[in-house]
């Protein structure tokens, strides 16, 4: 690096949670003006390191130096005052406060009377620096995830941040929002901030970072300049195993047409969507966030039924008015929002897996046959490789990847003919992702038709037999596997001619 003095030096940091060694003897240096990517599977220790850097946990041993002085933040406000701030995948804004108040909360003018005009002006300046058009007077409630992140970045700038940690900031963003975020990150870097960037999307690492550090099982494995790293070597270091089964997609036999959607529309949301889905086919849906893909899925699943058009399954026209109706016809939907819509986290793993299929385990008197229920749940647990201490463990105790698999297990248990997967790998680690990919492949091979909605372009292209692209509520193109290149799909998705 050009600057020989690191802004932050982490040396020999260890952290143990009872039986779990979360970090062991980790050392890392961050230089001003670099984007330093941190990668590793879930449980590799990245989150723990962030929490130590931002004062949420104290380290058991080892130390940190910030700008030449020992750095021992007592809490995140303390860390922020010293110039270390973190931005998360789902930012935590105060929805009822204005954008400007969110930016300056905790460090506004100390006077009794708030200088609203000045505050709005400064907030407006910060946001325009970030190239984002948000009215600082509006409440934060209406912001998109990208907007919320911009608010947090603006807050970090206003705090004169020296080290900015970004924990999977792109997970919920569409491609053009990612581009804008990257511009913001680069301009921060150019102004001398050290950015610690965490992502599961490998191609992003190469686009944004200067150096890449790999963590595995709480240990620091390597730190290298981006030019010295290849995707393959990186994945290998992260998982400590051969990445050959990553993105493995077998060849599929062409089945007969199973689902036929004609001129489907929902006023103000999407319109005139027509496509066919063959048996055992994976039909990818690419597009920007907000293009209407999830809305289309929710219509097919009966959550918000379409108001025009027809849906035919095996030649028979369906009137799907509710999720019950969809499930009865063999259509299941894995929601993109697992926390809000997917799981009952207080309930046990087995209760979640059988929630949609309880009828099958219930006698006419309503008594649940717990042995049969467990058998099926155990079978799915093994098939999907859900890591959990037992079937009775509350789902809240599982990691994100395992929660996602639990949700998948719930829908699989309905024996769907058509399985709609909405962002099935968002925010889960590389190992779990590979499991899900292999699983989609297996399912399709066994004759289930899959609609795969994903904002991860390489994923949707690699996994799909055909890729449908939506833009602003319209289906604007369907590519065969051979035609579907990232450039082509993206060009159609953003509307480039």
């Amino acid at each position: 690096m050009a600057d020989p003095d690191p802004v932050m030096d982490i040396t020999g940091v260890s952290k143990r949670f009872e039986a779990t060694q979360a970090l062991s003897d980790v050392s890392l240096s961050l230089f001003p003006g670099e984007v330093h990517a941190l990668v590793g599977e879930n449980g590799a220790g990245k989150s723990t390191l962030i929490k130590i850097m931002t004062g949420i946990y104290p380290a058991d041993s080892g130390g940190m130096i910030l700008g030449g002085e020992p750095f021992n933040p007592r809490n995140s406000a303390d860390a922020q005052r010293s110039g270390v701030a973190a931005i998360y995948q789902e930012p935590s804004v105060f929805p009822d406060l204005s954008v400007a108040e969110n930016i300056f909360i905790g460090h506004q003018d100390q006077g009794v009377v708030v200088d609203w005009g000045g505050m709005y002006d400064r907030a407006g300046d910060l946001l325009s620096q970030l190239d984002i058009d948000i009215d600082p007077r509006l409440p934060a409630a209406g912001l998109t995830v990208a907007g919320q992140q911009a608010v947090e970045i603006a807050k970090a700038i206003s705090l004169d941040v020296r080290v900015l940690i970004m924990d999977e900031p792109t997970a919920a963003l569409s491609a053009h929002e990612v581009d804008r975020l990257f511009r913001q990150v680069r301009s921060l870097r150019d102004s001398g901030v050290a950015v610690l960037f965490i992502t599961h999307r490998l191609e992003e690492l190469f686009a944004i970072s200067d150096r890449i550090s790999v963590f595995r099982d709480g240990r620091h494995i390597s730190t290298r300049l981006v030019g010295d790293v290849s995707e393959g070597s990186l994945v290998k270091e992260m998982v400590g195993r051969d990445p050959s089964d990553f993105f493995s997609r077998g060849q599929h036999l062409e089945g007969e047409t199973l689902l036929e959607v004609q001129g489907l529309g929902l006023t103000g949301v999407f319109s005139d969507v027509s496509f066919e889905l063959r048996r055992g086919e994976v039909l990818g849906f690419a597009g920007l966030v907000g293009a209407g893909r999830t809305d289309l899925a929710l219509s097919l699943f009966g959550v918000s039924p379409a108001d025009v058009g027809t849906i035919r399954l095996e030649g028979k026209e369906l009137q799907i008015k509710s999720p019950q109706g969809a499930l009865a016809n063999g259509i299941a939907y894995l929601s993109e929002d697992r926390r809000r819509l997917g799981l009952s986290v207080e309930q046990s793993l087995v209760a979640n897996i059988t929630l949609a299929t309880l009828d099958r385990y219930t006698s006419s008197l309503g008594l649940i046959d717990r042995n049969r229920e467990r058998e099926d749940a155990e079978g799915l647990r093994r098939r999907l490789g859900i890591k959990a201490p037992s079937l009775t463990t509350p789902v809240s105790q599982l990691s994100g990847g395992n929660q996602q698999k639990a949700m998948l297990a719930k829908w699989l248990n309905t024996n769907p003919k058509v399985l709609i997967l909405d962002e099935p790998t968002r925010g889960i680690d590389v190992g779990a992702k590979a499991d899900v990919h292999r699983f989609i492949d297996d399912l399709a091979t066994s004759g289930v038709s899959i609609i795969l909605i994903s904002s991860d372009l390489p994923e949707v292209i690699a996994m799909s037999d055909r890729v449908a692209v939506m833009r602003e509520g319209q289906l604007v193109g369907i590519f065969s596997r051979r035609e579907a290149t990232q450039e082509r799909v993206m060009a159609v998705a953003v509307g480039v001619r």
């Binding site: 819509l341 997917g342 949609a356 649940i368 098939r383 890591k387 959990a388 509350p394």
Partner: protein
């Protein structure tokens, strides 16, 4: 294979002592603890008479705690249970005064009255889309006012009721050394145990937990959430009606204000009993134990001469808070240990993480 199966069995046994069992056991411990404490403060405290008094007086609140838990599980609340008790008790008293029927028909009338009132709550919440707290705050006042108008200020007097009514509370099934197992307590206990079992083993119980835990997920899993909410309010009303019957047999005299204030006691009992006010977690047995704890504290305080009548409620409040703090502390300690074992289990299995046929779970590590 046999080895891992054996380990799994061990793990399952351990893990089965999950959060709910821990809640119930700590609560039981706290009840025993407070009884011991009072036995040092009060002479002749540990007597058959005191046991009989608690087990009789707890019946109404125990049934209401169950009524409350039923709706709280589904992420709702029923603030009208106190008024429903009043209406059910009064109308049942009227019915008995007019017909001189026996206990069983009277009980059915009370339950029916409660269920009808509950169905109004349920319809407004489930199909009207009005939040439960608003609806039941409204019906709390509405039911009470209608009762005042209906009664015209007249009380139902013990003299107008069949003679069995006042004896009903004293019917004893078994007596061991002064400890009487009374019918009313057994009825309440059986109702609670049946509900407890139903919530653990029946489909609708499981579904109500799922609904309360995450309503949107429940809807997406194809559950008829509106009808579930409706019926949980009907059930809550029916239980409040049964509590109204019990109230009538205990009091003998019923005024238009009968049962006022019980709604808050029922919420307190459920929450002290470990029922999460956010829905989706807790057990019927827990709510029952919560009711027993509060009632025991209440009746014990009366026996402590140093506590004046004016201070009694404040003391009760402090004791309830103390009990909750001890409960939460113990439970957290246990849960932390438990979840760190869970984490360790997952970490242990991590290296073998990726094959299809892996034995997921590291089940054996609950031994750690």
């Amino acid at each position: 294979m046999t080895d891992s199966a054996g380990m799994e069995a061990v793990a399952r046994r351990r893990v089965n002592l999950g959060p709910d069992r821990v809640k119930e056991l700590t609560l039981l411990g706290i009840i025993v603890l407070s009884v011991l404490m009072f036995s040092f403060l009060v002479d002749d405290y540990l007597s058959g008479r005191f046991f009989n008094r608690v087990t009789t007086s707890v019946v109404v609140v125990a049934l209401l705690a169950a009524a409350q838990a039923l709706v709280i599980f589904s992420r709702n609340i029923d603030l009208s249970v106190g008024s429903m008790v009043g209406v059910a008790a009064y109308l049942t008293g009227d019915f008995l005064g007019a017909t001189e029927q026996g206990p069983l028909p009277a009980m059915l009338v009370a339950i029916l009255v409660g269920a009808v009132l509950g169905s109004l709550n349920g319809a407004l919440v489930a199909y009207g889309g009005v939040p439960a707290i608003i609806v039941t705050l409204g019906t709390l006042a509405l039911f009470r006012t209608l009762l005042s108008i209906y009664s015209g200020g007249a009380n139902i007097l013990a003299g107008s009721l069949p003679s069995w009514v006042l004896e009903f509370n004293n019917i004893t099934l078994v007596e061991v050394g002064g400890l009487q197992l009374r019918l009313v307590f057994v009825i309440a206990l059986v109702v609670v145990l049946l509900l407890h079992w139903a919530f653990a083993r029946l489909r609708w119980g499981r579904r109500i937990y799922a609904l309360g835990s995450n309503p949107s997920a429940a809807a997406q899993a194809g559950l008829r959430t509106s009808s579930m909410v409706f019926w949980s309010f009907v059930g809550s009303g029916a239980l409040a009606g049964l509590a109204g019957f019990m109230f009538l047999t205990r009091a003998g005299t019923i005024s238009a204000t009968a049962g006022a204030g019980l709604e808050l006691e029922s919420v307190a009992a459920a929450v002290v009993g470990g029922v999460s006010i956010l829905g989706g977690s807790g057990t019927m047995l827990g709510a029952f134990l919560g009711a027993v704890l509060i009632d025991t504290l209440k009746l014990s305080l009366i026996r402590v001469p140093q506590v004046s009548e004016f201070w009694r409620d404040a003391f009760l409040g402090v004791l309830i808070l103390l009990a909750v703090i001890v409960d939460v502390t113990l439970r957290n300690r246990f849960n932390r240990r438990w979840s760190s074992q869970a984490r360790a289990a997952m970490e242990d299995s991590a290296p073998a993480a990726v094959g299809t046929a892996r034995m997921a779970g590291g089940s054996g590590s609950a031994d750690a």
